[in-house]
Symmetry: C2
Subunit: 114 residues, 2 copies
DNA sequence: TTACTACATAACCAGATAGTATATTAGTGT
DNA sequence: ACACTAATATACTATCTGGTTATGTAGTAA
């Protein structure tokens, strides 16, 4: 007997969940999210902070934008990106914890502490 | 001023996090996880429940196994798979909630209720 | 042994995706 | 207006990945 209950999930729900998780399934995108934990930043700032190429960073940011993970505003020449879904922090922290528990190695954490 | 603190994360940590999230970034794999919420099941049972082809299911199960999401035991002709990392439930539930909040549409949930 | 069942692996193809090169857009100065 | 530069986005390409078919392997039973 299961110790939890399941509700039915639609095909669409599985697709959407998959898209969201897939958006987080890339080291460079995780770096971007990590960099954005300080708050809103421009593409150039993110390029510098992550060490990636500008075109690549822009592409990953677009994917994150489409997935609803980040938001964007434009002002003059700059595009400012920010994390639009705070759940991301909890997701990353949970996942870090899970990995740590399994490996007992010190990875550090994506975490809010305030 | 940020409202959270960051610790440094290594390249390896970003890679591992990415691999874990990527494992969840596929609708069929989410279906398998969902099916395994009832408890341990054989490949055949999972094939029937998800409606996928056996070879494809086996492939996804191997990926989930390698990613540390599920466990496996063999008995006679059957291979029994189970969720080995309970954090998965929380991750999926958080993600479902996040999607619901953003879309205000009814997706149902991956959730533990007991 | 032979036959059958359950599962895994290999080979292939089509579509997706990460990274790089190129283009576009917006501002500045003349 | 025009050229020039800075900031960002899009197009191209090689690789990766999911799905499928075919084949292999191991346990079971006659």
């Amino acid at each position: 007997m299961p110790e939890y209950r399941k509700e039915n999930l639609s095909d669409e729900a599985f697709e959407m969940l998959g898209e969201r998780f897939r958006a987080l399934g890339e080291p460079m995108r995780l770096r971007l999210i990590y960099a954005l934990m300080d708050g809103e930043k421009t593409v150039s700032e993110l390029v510098e902070e992550t060490g990636g190429l500008q075109a690549n960073i822009s592409k990953h940011l677009k994917l994150l934008l489409d997935a609803g993970v980040v938001g964007r505003r434009k002002q003059g020449l700059h595009a400012y990106y920010r994390i639009s879904d705070p759940t991301i922090f909890e997701l990353c922290d949970l996942m870090c914890g899970s990995i740590q528990d399994q490996l007992e190695s010190n990875l550090g954490r994506f975490s809010r502490s305030s």
